[in-house]
Amino acid sequence: MDHPVILKISNLSKSFGPVRALQGVDLELRRGEIHAIAGENGAGKSTLMKVIDGILRPDSGDIVIDGKPVAIASPTEAQKLGIGFVHQEIALCPDVSVAENIFMGVTNTSKALLMNYADLRKRASAILRQLGDIDASALVRTLSISQQQLVEIAKALTLDCRILIFDEPTAALTEREAKILFEIIHRLASQGIAIIYISHRMAEIFDNCDRVTVLRDGRYITTRDIKDTTPEQVVAAMVGRVIDKLYPEKQRADERSEEIILDVSNLSGTTRFRDVSFQLRKGEILGLGGLIGAGRSEIVKGICRLEAEVTGTIAVHGKPLSLTHYGDSIDAGMVYLSEDRKGDGLFLDMSIASNISALAVERVASRAGLINTSRETRQAQELGRRLALKCGHVNDAVSTLSGGNQQKVAIAKMLSVAPKVIFLDEPTRGVDVGAKAEIHRIVRDLARSGVGVVIISSELPELIGVCDRVLVVREGRITGEVAGDDMTEENIMYLASIADERPRAA
């Protein structure tokens, strides 16, 4: 089989300040192939795609399309070169018809004064016919997620694309919908369109793609024919990194305790997770691993009653709890550190001190409900010192702090209520390496002092480096547990992405 190469990228680099997102990346794309790009979160997949789509300009490196070197300066230019991008997040106008959405790009550049809706609808229907049963005049908001995804694909197809990029398109789809999507992708490929398919689900890659390119830490690792490789080899290539000594010492054997701090059994939510049971022992740091969207945050929020409607039992220190609201959970000593620090973790325009006291203002107030500002300031200073918070004054707004220090304020807020169990959701996302190590140390100290700690992290090295035991969640269920020497990136990735195929792959 001799496919002419449609896109060839060589030695591409891109830095954001000191962060080298891509370093000497190569990629070769052939006409009519489905080419998977695999890599962990942060491996550089999205950066590479943004360069191809003209959203980002590379610092160095060559992009050759059909044998001609090109510089892709903008998404519009990418479109002219025949590059289409189906984004992970659906970016459609919900209150506008399917046809208008599909031709948004065309309308945008059209010089005509009036819209020709009849023509628009006719052309949209023609494109939609090859994708599935969608009414061109329906409003986008009335469509299901998978149908909306098809509209996104239709949008890309209107531009006569020869290269079509899919960024984790199945993340929001059911299995059946995903199957239909793959049928469409195969059909497009057979028409000669080159497909770039981004995913870290091994099953999808091995069932549908022709070749796979692996990126790790912004570097090109390898490109393989799917038929000549195995999921294990790809996972190993994705994660094969030596774990450094940045992490604090783990729980020592003499610190092991059988005392159970938190006991969760048969916890089920309405849709996102079901039948979750686990125990958290004194002194250990328990990790929750899994892919983004696997339901880890939802489980933890369910335990704290930040998500409504859960069934199952939760006991802290052997005492069963009946919670109806997150306030009850705080009172019972269970607190949750949000993964979205800016969105729902902090009050950015308020002072550091009042952020720290937000979980229980009553603690710095008199019984009559009057806040004692000097007590509030003192609390902030004490917790700030304990966490080595670097700030001017605790009355300054949180927005004046760096990401790492903001995160320390968020953690101080949790500690202000002297919690028994603390759930940390992506506690080091967006903080620099130094602050990251400090946060890891803080977390270890907490566990040593007898606080139950549960960490959610999508960064495997962090999970392995910090936790004593990791539960892996896939599609809302705990699919396995690893501890000690079994706690490897391969094992966690395996349980997170391909657990079901173990017999076949082995």
Binding site: Y336, D344, A360, R385, N395
Partner: protein
């Protein structure tokens, strides 16, 4: 606010310089502007710095100031209420109508204030339970309350000539040289300013307005908070309506048209943000005073009433623009 200056790590670079802090405060700027206006006006018009004019100005903003207090708290929680003018008038009409039908004025006033509180609770219900926006809910209530006023009076003011003097004292009397209205106003401002700065309940108002999701993620029942501030704002409008009734000795169904704009403008000039999370009672009152001084000055200078509106609107736009840039620099 207690501003001790103790950097957490004992490091240098404290920004807790008390004087600098004072100068950065919105209130200081407003006081300066008001002071400059006073000086300029005392030269421009011989009537400006007279006791009568001061008294008239104070009377003009004092009652509205009580509504400003409620609006500011509501704005801090992230809400807004366009119905304050109509609800103020409705309080007058309900109390006046009950009085004319034989109820004593005190009970009538209490019932009227409770009715306004209930209106606030209904708005709170639609916002927090049904999930509608404050703007729309209060817009509808603004029209409905005005309709009720006109319905109850046939569109004509109710003359309340038989109001007992001790009731009229609220709106017309003086304690020494100070009008009772001013005393009530200062009381409300002091109490709510203190509560807003110091009580846990009102701290939760700030948390909710600053970031509703983060507040929920701190265990705060944000819908209760918003319900409370919505109800409080309407209740204070009711209180204002009663004081107006005592002052005018009548109930005017068309009173307070456009009041919401004045009140919101005052709060915003005083530092309240329409996005919620910031604002002070003191600032809002200074905003009210500023607008009132400007109106009075323009009247004394014989500026046409049409120009006055244009100038007031321009002041609002200027204040908000300056604030926007200050915020951008800070953020």
């Amino acid at each position: 606010m207690a501003t001790t200056s103790n950097p957490v790590n004992g490091e240098a670079g404290s920004t807790g310089n008390a004087l600098g802090r004072l100068f950065r405060m919105r209130e200081t700027g407003l006081i300066l502007i008001i002071a400059v206006l006073f000086i300029v006006m005392s030269f421009a018009s011989p009537y400006f710095l007279t006791w009568d004019n001061m008294r008239a100005m104070a009377m003009a903003f004092a009652v509205e100031g009580i509504v400003v207090v409620g609006m500011t708290i509501l704005l801090i929680s992230g809400g807004i209420d366009l119905s304050v003018g109509s609800v103020t008038a409705l309080a007058m009409v309900i109390a006046g109508w009950l009085f004319l039908n034989g109820l004593d004025p005190w009970t009538a006033s209490l019932v009227a204030i409770l009715a306004c509180t209930a209106i606030g609770a209904i708005m709170g219900f639609f916002v927090t339970r049904v999930g509608l926006h404050h703007f729309i809910v209060s817009l509808a209530v603004m029209v409905i309350a005005r309709g009720l006023c006109l319905l109850g009076t046939g569109g004509r003011p109710l003359g309340l000539y038989t109001l007992p003097p001790e009731f009229k004292f609220i709106g017309q009397g003086s304690i020494g040289p100070i009008p009772v209205v001013i005393v009530i106003f200062v009381l409300f401002v002091a109490v709510f300013d203190f509560m807003l700065r110091r009580t846990t309940i009102f701290r939760k108002v700030f948390y909710t307005g600053s970031n509703e999701k983060a507040a929920a993620y701190s265990g705060i029942r944000t819908s209760k908070v918003i319900f409370l501030t919505t109800t409080l704002c309407a209740a204070l409008s009711g209180v204002a309506g009663i004081i107006y009734m005592a002052r005018f000795g009548s109930a005017q169904p068309t009173f307070g048209v456009g009041m919401e704009l004045n009140v919101i403008a005052a709060a915003v000039i005083g530092g309240a943000s329409l996005k919620g999370g910031s604002g002070t009672i003191l600032g809002a009152i200074l905003g009210t005073i500023l607008l009132s001084v400007v109106s009075s000055s323009l009247a004394l200078l014989d500026v046409s009433i049409y120009w006055q509106d244009i100038i007031r609107g321009s002041i609002l736009l200027t204040a908000v623009t300056i604030d926007h840039y200050l915020n951008k620099r800070r953020g």
